[in-house]
Symmetry: none
Subunit: 232 residues, 2 copies
DNA sequence: TTTACATTCTCACAGCTTTCTCACAGGAAG
DNA sequence: CTTCCTGTGAGAAAGCTGTGAGAATGTAAA
């Protein structure tokens, strides 16, 4: 299992901790890249083949939380947060934004390595590192890189909320998504059960992507359950 | 009838902590079962449909670590260890044996819930745990993952109640299900003896899946007892 | 600061679907 | 034949969804 030589990206601005992690990774047979900024992390991810991210939240340029969100728009790769912040709310927020694990400094090598192994185990079970750049359903195309939506190769103007709703459907093509699940994913946890807002949002989106919003072709309603992006 | 919640099994012998966790889970809308022993955990897993395990390592009968190993022999369902032991080696061992996360007591509700959400996210992405994503009986196919029903590969429109009825039969192919059992499973306890509603529901379902509802091919009536999905 | 504009959420209501209740007919079993 | 059980259609009640109008919020330009 260790022969696959997974590549870890370490995003950490404290040189001492960075070296400590590097040393441990080398011992275990991982290869790695390092960067000290959020900006650097994002550009490394584009230029190199990375399997897992170790992310510090307190970065000099902008917050690590933003890195999580950005990465999650186009990849499901494991993200382990390594941070000095040990507030419960901070942890929960990072995890809900898409992080897979959260370690509080100071931590031990033993534990970090074990948690990396868990994350990679999940990755392989899910079928490897799938990165999307563009995905098409019928005449509808979503470009994850550029944040653009095309209908029959004509660019559509899409609002941020509508975009995240579309991303959710494109990541789950063919599956019925329950209203509750959708709400949790796009509004975050705790912003409960306001199905009305979702209905309005859906109406707006359909007006843009469907020829006849009353008889939708792409996003279908499953009455009593939720919605589904058709996969034919 | 949004009763399709995930079910958590809590394995914990300290009553106080157990209650604390139960309360939190209820708040978040999860359903749960509890047990205080390793033996109890294993038998619950066989008899009930569990989605996630919260596991204490220090159990009265035998060590929680054994539960992890046993479960991993046949299932990939998420296991979150909740333990007072905070030795790094202990953590690493549990994680390497197959646990997906490890929380040290004392922990906060906020963090526990966030980590449960992470685990369920992984489960959802992997496409359900040990359940087949799709199951077929004759020309009838039920796709659990996508929440869809097909008859001879043509998609059927199925209402939520009809769907949960079908799921119940697919989980018990070939077995006779008594009317009372079906009622309890579909409507929940306390809905008494309203067999009439079930008859109407069944009529509607048969109209959709049977060629000749008067002479059903899939769901047969066992007079005086209940119904049975044939296993041919 | 004011103004204009886009986005998102709230409200009210119409229309549709699902679900349950009722009444009755046809069968099976004794 | 009688009794109990099951299936079916009609229709009422309850619940769910889509939509337009407008309020609230946020953003950018003048």
């Amino acid at each position: 299992m260790q022969n696959r030589n997974e590549r870890v990206l370490i995003v950490e601005d404290d040189a001492q901790i960075k070296n400590f992690i590097c040393y441990s990774l080398k011992q275990e047979g991982f290869s790695y890249s390092t960067t000290g900024t959020a900006q650097g992390a994002l550009s490394t991810l584009v230029s190199e083949q990375i399997d897992l991210i170790l992310l510090d939240l307190g970065l000099p340029d902008f917050d690590g939380m933003e890195v999580i969100k950005k990465v999650r728009e186009w990849s499901d790769m494991p993200i382990i947060v390594v941070s000095a912040r040990d507030q419960d709310k901070e942890k929960a927020l990072a995890l809900d934004n898409g992080a897979d694990d959260y370690l509080t400094k100071p931590f031990s090598t033993t534990e970090l390595m074990a948690r990396i192994r868990v994350a990679l185990r999940h990755l392989y079970k899910a079928g490897g590192n799938i990165q999307y750049t563009s995905q098409t359903v019928g005449g509808l195309r979503l470009d994850f890189d550029k944040h653009l939506v095309f209908l029959n190769e004509k660019e559509l103007h899409i609002t941020p909320m509508e975009y995240s709703l579309l991303v959710l459907f494109f990541k789950n093509v063919g599956k019925v998504l329950t209203t509750r699940y959708i709400l949790k994913e796009i509004y975050g946890v705790g912003y409960g059960t306001d199905t009305q807002a979702l209905r309005t949002l859906m109406a707006g989106l359909r007006r843009k992507i469907e020829e006849n919003p009353a008889k939708p072709r792409y996003i279908l309603t499953e009455i009593g359950v939720g919605y589904r992006l058709t996969d034919e």
